[in-house]
């Protein structure tokens, strides 16, 4: 019990520093009550361990990542110009002059609105640079940047790319450069996008390695679990996940096995035991602002 007290003290610390004071001990207890006792595994301990491995990006961190992603884009563009022979100063001037020719577009659906707004605000970009549909791309648009908060399996990017091809944008504007700019991307998502389209320019702030998969061999989420224990843990979570959200989302969208949360949403790549509200399941992280959306399924 002393051990558990320490865990709760840890939660109390991160609740203030990271979780934005959004969780109480009672919320955690209510969430744990969802789990039915199991023969092969202590579910209370498993739930607490999974919560310890949950990575939450709070508002400050999201703001930082927004800034960082755009700076990374700027850095790459300036580097390209320097390679062409421009001085640093001239490359910077050229970049600033070219910003008006860039169009930013959110990913899809209603949810993109909030993130696009946030991205624009944080980076001090003009409203005119943001469009809401592919049809708004003009022939003089030099660059199209698709902004996204999270790329999990990579399906969104591939599907968006296909939509762009079909829309005739490249015929209308053959010189247009397309970038995908995401705050967080998984290693598997990145590999999939690059193998599907090697020319795809993807810029991101943070890359999540395979270690972030909750039940993977090198899992950093359950580092002290033996392989057998991890297997049992996976079975328990899969069973619950399937019951709650069906096969496709049983361990997060297409078995993503992630435990990630963002200030403004919880990606569905995250295990549904965290976020599902179906069948009287009490989630630990609720979907705020009604902007929860499917990240990968277009």
């Amino acid at each position: 019990m002393i051990e558990e007290e320490k865990i709760f003290q840890y939660f109390s610390d991160i609740n203030e520093t990271i979780w934005e004071n959004s969780i109480s001990k009672q919320d955690i207890e209510d969430w744990i009550k969802n789990f039915k006792p199991q023969k092969l595994i202590n579910v209370r301990k498993l739930a607490l361990d999974l919560l310890m491995g949950f990575i939450y990006y709070n508002e400050d961190e999201i703001h930082f990542l927004c800034k960082h992603a755009f700076s990374e884009y700027k850095r790459q563009k300036i580097k390209e110009e320097i390679k062409k022979g421009l001085s640093i100063k001239d490359a910077e001037i050229l970049f600033h002059d070219s910003v008006s020719q860039i169009k930013f577009i959110g990913k899809n659906g209603d949810s993109s609105g909030y993130f696009s707004y946030l991205f624009r605000q944080i980076n001090g970009l003009p409203l005119e640079n943001f469009i809401s549909s592919i049809e708004e791309i003009r022939s003089d648009t030099s660059t199209l940047i698709i902004v996204d908060d999270f790329i999990g399996t990579g399906d969104t990017v591939i599907n968006f790319n296909n939509s762009l091809e079909k829309s005739g944008v490249f015929k209308k504007n053959p010189k247009i450069q397309v970038y995908y700019l995401s705050l967080i991307v998984t290693e598997s998502g990145l590999t999939k996008i690059q193998s599907s389209n090697p020319k795809c320019k993807l810029i991101y702030s943070e890359l999540l390695s395979q270690d972030y998969k909750a039940f993977s061999e090198k899992s950093s989420v359950l580092p002290d679990y033996q392989m057998e224990e991890r297997k049992h843990a996976k079975i328990v979570c899969k069973k619950i996940g399937e019951f709650l959200e069906g096969e496709m989302y049983s361990l997060g969208y297409k078995n993503s096995e992630l435990l990630i949360g963002l200030h403004h949403n919880i990606p569905n790549n995250t295990l549904p035991i965290i976020w599902s509200e179906k069948k009287e399941w009490v989630p630990i992280f609720r979907r705020k602002k009604k902007i929860y959306y499917s990240v990968d399924s277009v």
Binding site: F8, F11, S12, N15, E16, N21, S24, K25
Partner: protein, 668 residues
């Protein structure tokens, strides 16, 4: 929900937060607000423990905060200048940036020259930034021509030249020039270790005091409202300056030139030397400087009011609490009496009065069992069969502390059992006219807290409660930061463990406060090892002290209650032990109190060291100091600090109360 107590280190606080949370400590208001003490006296050495609020005070006195605050309050130029008593120039001795002035393989004289030059640049830059800041807020009472003349005079004085172009007639231009000079210093320092014969080259090398005393004179001559105003250089964290650097600054203090004066903030034992660069001179107290100690000036009652005001202001400034009209920290933390706590220990719940008196049930309580055991041992007249009748007269179901006092008195053997029964009964019946009432009452009152510790020992695993406003104030040991941290932790725990029930209940449970006090105590203890130089030695000493002190709480006679300090003749200590104790005081792990007289007349005064009361929960000891344990010998301390584990354990055992009892038993 935002924790009103987040942000307790003034070094990390934004200017806006300093203004927002500022409370003037009553006894220091003359110094801080009107600066009258600075005007009429020599430079002031402002001493205080770590976290007592020195930085907050010095920062508040800086021109940056004063100008910003007046700007926020919409104060106009005339009013601002009319109320201007002094101009505060804040500079913090930041450890890492100062340490680079040492050990780079360059002669001492060269480093001294470079440091002096650097200090002149830094303070001069602060003067010009102050002017720029005043101009920005329209608080400068000179017109454009006057402004230009001031800049030109400054340029002429500092750089011995006039700006070549009129567009350079700005304060920014002067700041940039000074910045480029300070960059040169850093460039040289960083490159010195890699150069064969490093030579410092600069267009100017400023001599000591040339700008620090010279520039204010120029400003005073150019700005009418600055005439007769003091420029107070607020040097913070002086303990971070090396001995050599302090020599340089001490020389400036010794030869201070009006309108400049110094207010130097330092921890205790932070002054490494009182010498100056001139071998025949040193700083003499009262003649060259005056000392103000935060702890001496802010008395206990002032302190209580001060922390209450600070906490209440923080609550008022936090939306959730303001909206719920919760801004009285004394009410939030509440108060419980030792009697309340005693009932909690015995009955397992907080209660002002017990539901039903039931002696048959009460006599089963562990401490009553103990009383019976002692009674039967002490007197043959009492047999087990008639012991109930005696016990009935010695216990009070409403207040188990009476039982405990009687248990102690039986052990001490001062009263006969019959007499003790009579005194107890007349005390409980409130017969104040009886001459036996007062001594018993005094005994009870004095030992209440010590009796709690005794009572707890019969009810494991129950632990001492450390909650309530007054207890938090005692635990904070006169250091404001400790108090704010205790509040911070309590609010944080309330948010997490009770889903922020404070907003509805308007108070925080004592258990939650105790939990928080335990966490802060443990955190304080853990940080001890990070103290530079002697961290591990101090931690080891604290651990031994904790063990020694807590052993005294198990004394059945409570002969020396509430031990939280030791005393030693400092003149007998080795220099290394002295250093460790000084360092422990500097970091407020130990707090030095007024020296005690020795046992016999003519004995040297003994130095008293109290363990910071924030550590009380860690060792389950009191947050007050009472009683007196035997004097620590120099060799004991030497071993407690530098000995190996076996030696330490031997000395710790020797100094523990339990071992003393055992020795006495052997003697008789």
């Amino acid at each position: 929900m935002i924790n009103p107590f987040a942000g307790f280190n003034a070094n990390l606080m934004e200017d806006d937060d300093i203004i927002k949370y500022w409370i003037t400590p009553g006894p220091l208001s003359d110094l801080i607000l009107s600066g009258s003490e600075l005007i009429s006296s020599p430079p002031i050495l402002f001493m205080g423990g770590r976290g007592c609020g020195k930085t907050m005070i010095l920062k508040y006195m800086s021109n940056e905060i004063q100008i910003k605050k007046s700007g926020f309050d919409g104060i106009k130029k005339d009013e601002f200048l009319g109320n201007l008593h002094f101009i505060g120039i804040y500079y913090r001795f930041d450890g890492p940036s100062l340490s680079i002035f040492q050990k780079r393989g360059i002669s001492e004289i060269e480093w001294e020259t470079i440091f002096r030059h650097y200090l002149e640049i830094v303070i001069c830059k602060k003067y010009i930034q102050m002017l720029e800041n005043l101009k920005l807020y329209d608080y400068l009472d000179i017109d454009d021509t006057g402004n230009k003349k001031l800049i030109r005079d400054l340029e002429k004085y500092i750089f011995d030249s006039y700006p070549l172009e009129t567009e350079n007639d700005t304060f920014e231009y002067l700041i940039e020039k000074l910045e480029s000079l300070s960059k040169k210093v850093f460039k040289f320092i960083n490159n010195a270790p890699f150069s064969k014969n490093p030579k410092f080259e600069s267009d100017f090398i400023f001599s000591s005091g040339s700008l620090i005393f010279g520039v204010p004179a120029i400003i005073e001559n150019n700005i009418p409202s600055f005439k007769q105003k003091k420029f107070v250089i607020l040097l913070d964290e002086y303990e971070n300056a090396s001995k050599q650097q302090q020599l340089i600054i001490n020389t400036l203090i010794k030869h201070v030139q009006p309108p400049v004066t110094f207010l130097i903030g330092s921890r205790f034992f932070g002054i490494k030397t009182f010498d100056t660069m001139n071998k025949d001179e040193f700083l003499m107290e009262d003649a060259d400087y005056r000392t103000i100690s935060f702890e001496d000036v802010v008395t206990d009652s002032d302190y209580l009011q001060f922390i209450q005001d600070i906490a209440n202001k923080r609550l008022e400034k936090t939306e959730d609490f303001r909206n719920h009209e919760i801004f009285n920290i004394e009410k939030i933390l509440g108060y419980f009496s030792p009697e309340d706590e005693a009932r909690k220990i015995v009955y397992g719940k907080w209660t002002k009065e017990i539901d039903r008196h039931d002696f048959e049930k009460y006599k089963q309580k562990k401490h009553v069992h103990k009383m019976r055991e002692v009674l039967l041992q002490k007197t043959k007249k009492i047999k087990y069969e008639n012991s109930d009748d005696v016990i009935k007269n010695l216990v009070c179901e409403d207040n188990p502390l009476i039982d405990m006092l009687n248990l102690v008195l039986i052990t001490r053997g001062k009263y006969s059992i019959e007499e003790l029964q009579q005194v107890t009964q007349l005390y409980l019946k409130n017969e104040k006219n009886d001459p036996r009432y007062k001594p018993y009452d005094q005994l009870y009152d004095k030992n209440k807290l010590a009796l709690i510790f005794k009572l707890i020992s019969y009810y494991p695993p129950t632990q001492k409660e450390y909650g309530g406003f007054r207890v938090f104030s005692m635990l904070s040991s006169g250091l404001i930061r400790n108090f704010i941290e205790l509040c911070y932790q309590s609010f944080k725990n309330d948010f997490f463990y009770t889903s922020g029930s404070i907003l509805q209940k308007k108070y925080i449970d004592f258990e939650m406060q105790t939990k928080s006090a335990n966490i802060r105590s443990e955190k304080f203890f853990k940080t001890i090892e990070n103290i530079p130089e002697y961290g591990n030695e101090i931690k080891s000493l604290v651990q031994s002290l904790g063990a020694i002190y807590s052993s005294w709480y198990s004394d059945p006679r409570i002969s020396e209650p509430e031990i939280t300090y030791f005393y030693v003749d400092k003149t007998t200590l080795s220099p290394k032990v002295k250093d460790v104790l000084d360092k422990a005081v500097q970091w407020s792990v130990l707090q030095q109190k007024e020296s005690m007289k020795g046992k016999t007349p003519g004995d040297p005064l003994l130095d008293v060291y109290v363990l910071n009361h924030i550590l009380a929960p860690k060792f389950s000891i009191s947050y007050r100091s009472r009683g007196r344990i035997p004097q620590f010998m120099a060799e004991d301390l030497e071993i407690l600090i530098f000995g190996n584990n076996t030696q330490k354990s031997q000395i710790t055992t020797k100094l523990m109360r339990i071992s003393l009892d055992t020795q006495q038993m052997h003697l008789f």
